[in-house]
């Protein structure tokens, strides 16, 4: 029987929205305050949703401790209290929360059993969030 398990993690990081493909004026027009040269930060919430059969022995879709370990190792350890722009994954990609959401999805998909990751939601502030379900054919 398929069920879903979700877990919310808190991640604090800084970023600057700036594209090398745009002029200084265009960057300013596109990103406004987010283009400030010294960057700024957020308390992000990363919500991870996994799906699968409920194990009849444990009553669980996934063991929370196992999920926490994968998220800590692959995402929190990498991004928490860091400058996202300096991460190699964002060298040529603007660390918008859209891109962060897709990046987190990719990192977790590779660390979890095949087919288990359903969705990643990243909340940048209380008023905006982004969701990625992977590419569906």
């Amino acid at each position: 029987m398929k069920a879903y398990f979700g877990r919310r993690y808190r991640l604090s990081a800084s970023h600057r929205l700036h594209s090398e493909a745009l002029t200084a004026e265009e960057n300013q027009a596109a990103y406004g305050k987010c283009n400030n040269p010294h960057g700024h930060g957020h308390n992000y919430v990363v919500e991870v949703l996994v799906g699968g059969d409920v194990d009849p022995e444990t009553g669980m879709v996934v063991n929370l401790a196992v999920l926490d370990e994968v998220v800590d190792r692959r995402v929190m350890g990498r991004f928490d209290h860091m400058n996202l722009n300096l991460d190699p994954l964002f060298l040529n990609r603007v660390p918008t929360t859209e891109n962060l959401c897709r990046t987190v999805f990719g990192l977790l998909k590779d660390g979890l059993p095949a087919g288990q990751l359903e969705q990643v939601r990243v909340e940048e502030t209380e008023n905006n969030f982004f969701e990625y379900f992977g590419e569906r054919s």
Binding site: M1, K2, A3, Y4, F5, G6, R7, R8, Y9, V54, E57, T58, G59, M60, V61, N63, L64, A65
Partner: protein
């Protein structure tokens, strides 16, 4: 199709234990949740129904009716109870958040279906603000 969700809260105690395993195995897999004296949570039950708004009332379902169904079918059985010791569905099954979501679906689905109109779409149960499980009626 419009999706309508109503929340309710309940407080209950539980523990995780598989009778087929040794004490060591239970403690290894379930950690602190295996404490046989139990522990508790403030749960949030989130019930989503899907349907077309009624041409006259504009309602998918009457929220007051849904509130009463949730109280009668789920909260009356779970609120301020020990799930392992006081609810028949957890006499054997372990009251994990996943299993609570499935059990709540089974309690709610007949009443929602019998009423006609909207269909039960999703049951989500938050064990803490950071941990939740959901069931969508899938096999």
């Amino acid at each position: 199709m419009v999706f309508l969700t109503r929340r309710a809260t309940f407080s209950a105690s539980h523990y995780y234990w598989n009778e087929a395993w040794t004490a060591e195995e239970n403690e290894r897999v379930f950690g602190r949740c295996a404490n046989r004296n139990g522990h508790g949570h403030n749960y949030t039950l989130e019930v989503t129904v899907a349907g077309e708004p009624d041409a006259v009332t504009g309602f998918v379902v009457d929220l007051k009716w849904l509130k009463e169904v949730m109280e009668r079918e789920v909260l009356a059985a779970y609120d301020h109870r020990h799930l392992n010791l006081e609810t028949p569905e957890f006499a054997e099954a372990i009251p994990t958040t996943e299993n609570i979501a499935i059990a709540a679906w089974r309690r709610l689905e007949p009443a929602v279906t019998k009423a006609g109109g909207a269909r039960l779409n999703r049951v989500r149960v938050y064990e803490t603000p950071e941990i939740f499980a959901e069931y969508r009626g899938e096999a």
